[in-house]
C-alpha cells in the first residue's frame, strides 16, 4: 500500500494509468483496522490494481476535498477518474468484485 498525502495525491493517483484503490482510514476506526488485512490480501493477489492509503487525520483537507465523511471509505480510480466508492467494511469477495477481478 502506498501511503498518500496531499503532496503526492496528484502524482500517485490522478496521474496514474490504470486502477488505484484508495483506502481512507484512521487509527481510531475499528472497521478500518479490520479492513487492513483484507486489503493486504487483495493486494497480494492482484497486480493489475495499485493500492493506496490515506490517513484522514493527517490529511484532513484532502479527505474533505474527496468528499469523505465516513470511514472506512474506499474510492476506486481508473486513469485518474473516480469510478466507484464504498463506505464501511467489505469482505475480500466484495472487494474483488469492486476492482473487477
Amino acid at each position: 500500500m502506498i501511503p498518500v498525502t496531499k503532496d503526492t495525491f496528484e502524482k500517485e493517483i490522478l496521474k496514474r494509468k490504470g486502477k488505484v484503490l484508495v483506502d481512507f482510514n484512521a487509527s481510531w476506526c475499528g472497521p478500518c483496522r479490520m479492513l487492513q488485512p483484507v486489503l493486504e490480501e487483495l493486494e497480494k493477489e492482484n497486480k493489475n490494481c495499485t493500492f493506496a492509503s490515506i490517513n484522514v487525520d493527517d490529511n484532513e483537507e484532502l479527505s474533505q476535498e474527496c468528499g469523505v465523511m465516513s470511514i472506512p471509505c474506499l474510492v476506486l480510480f481508473e486513469d485518474g477518474k473516480e469510478i466507484d466508492r464504498s463506505v464501511g467494511f467489505k469482505s475480500l469477495e466484495e472487494l474483488k468484485e469492486m476492482i473487477g477481478e
Binding site: P31, S70, V87
Partner: protein, 306 residues
C-alpha cells in the same frame, strides 16, 4: 460435514465457538461482514466485567483470535438460508452450501433506520449510525443525535468533545431508558442541547450532503434546524429475515427460543441479540453463546451426532 455451523461472528457466536472447540467439535463460523459485530464500533466498553475500558476493536480481536487459535474455522460469507434435513442441516451462503449436524444462529441485530426519504442516499454524506466511526469528520461542526437510549447518549457525549454543538433529539419527555450516570453527564455538557418530545420528519440535502432537518415538537410549530451531521441511534432490528421461514419469530422479528436457546426446530439454536429476551448487552450475548453451545453439545451427544 461440520458438527456445528455458527452464523455470525459477534460476541455470541464467537463465545459459542470457544465452548464448542473445547468440547472438540468441528466448527465453522460464517460471517457476512467483519467479525466483532456491533461491539466493534464501540469506542470504550465500560460494562464488561474484568476488562474495564477496553475498546470494541481490541475486544473483538481478542475474542476472534481466541476462537481461531482453538481451531474454529471461519468463512466470510453471508448465510441466506438454512435447510432442515432432519439430522443434517444445510446452510446456504451466496457462494456455497455447508452441512452440519447443528446450527447456532447468532446473527445479532443491525441499526434501525428512521425510514425517511433520502436516508439511505445520505449515509456517509451527513447521515451516520456510528459516532465513533464518523465523529471526527465533524470537528467544530453542528450535529444532531436522534434517540434516547444508552447508545444515543453515549454518542452525544462522544460528539460533544469534537463538534461545536450537539442537539440530542428524543421523542419522549425524559430519558427513562438510559443509565442515570449518562443522563447526568449529558446535563453537565454545555454544548449539548436536549430537545424532548420531538421527531425528525425530513432530511434536507444541499449539494449532495445533509444540510438541515425538519423537526416537529409536541404542541409547537414544526421547524427546520441546520446541521452538518445526523447520528441516528433509535435502536436495532434483528437480522433474522433469512431464517424466518424456518424458525419462529415474534412480530418484531426476534427469534423465539426457550431459556436453553433452542428454537422450534430440533438442532437449531439461537444466541445473542436476535433472540427474544429482555436484556441485550455484551454480557448477555456471551452468556447466550455459552448456553447455546452447551445445549447443542448435549443435542449432538444425545441424538444429533449419532
Amino acid at each position: 460435514m461440520y458438527d456445528v455451523i455458527i452464523i455470525g461472528a459477534g460476541p455470541a457466536g464467537l463465545t459459542a465457538a470457544l465452548y464448542l472447540e473445547r468440547a472438540l467439535k468441528e466448527v465453522l463460523v460464517l460471517e457476512a461482514s467483519s467479525y466483532g459485530g456491533q461491539i466493534l464500533t464501540t469506542d470504550k466498553i465500560d460494562n464488561y466485567p474484568g476488562l474495564p475500558g477496553i475498546s470494541g476493536f481490541d475486544y473483538s480481536n481478542l475474542l476472534y483470535n481466541q476462537a481461531k487459535d482453538m481451531g474454529a474455522e471461519f468463512a466470510f460469507e453471508k448465510a441466506i438460508e438454512i435447510k432442515d434435513k432432519g439430522k443434517i442441516k444445510e446452510v446456504i451462503t451466496e457462494k456455497n452450501t455447508y452441512k452440519a449436524k447443528g446450527v447456532i444462529i447468532a446473527t445479532g441485530a443491525d441499526n434501525r433506520k428512521l425510514g425517511l426519504e433520502n436516508e439511505d442516499k445520505l449515509v456517509g454524506k451527513g447521515v451516520s449510525y456510528c459516532a465513533t466511526c464518523d465523529g471526527a469528520f465533524y470537528k467544530k461542526k453542528i450535529v444532531a443525535v436522534n434517540g434516547g437510549g444508552n447508545t444515543a447518549l453515549e454518542e452525544a457525549l462522544y460528539l460533544s468533545d469534537i463538534a461545536e454543538k450537539v442537539y440530542l433529539i428524543y421523542r419522549r419527555d425524559e430519558f427513562t431508558k438510559a443509565e442515570k450516570k449518562l443522563v447526568k453527564q449529558i446535563e453537565k455538557k454545555e454544548n449539548i442541547e436536549v430537545i424532548f418530545n420531538t421527531i425528525i420528519t425530513k432530511l434536507n440535502e444541499k449539494g449532495g450532503k445533509l444540510a438541515s432537518i425538519n423537526i416537529e415538537t409536541k404542541d409547537e410549530e414544526p421547524k427546520t434546524i441546520d446541521i452538518n451531521g445526523l447520528f441516528i441511534a433509535v435502536g436495532r432490528v434483528p437480522e433474522s429475515e433469512n431464517f424466518a421461514k424456518l424458525v419462529n419469530t415474534d412480530e418484531a422479528g426476534y427469534i423465539e427460543a426457550a431459556e436453553d436457546c433452542s428454537t422450534n426446530v430440533e438442532g437449531i439454536f439461537v444466541a445473542g441479540d436476535n433472540r427474544v429476551k429482555e436484556v441485550r448487552q455484551l454480557t448477555t450475548a456471551t452468556a447466550d453463546g455459552t448456553v447455546a453451545a452447551t445445549n447443542i453439545i448435549k443435542y449432538l451427544n444425545d441424538k444429533g451426532g449419532k
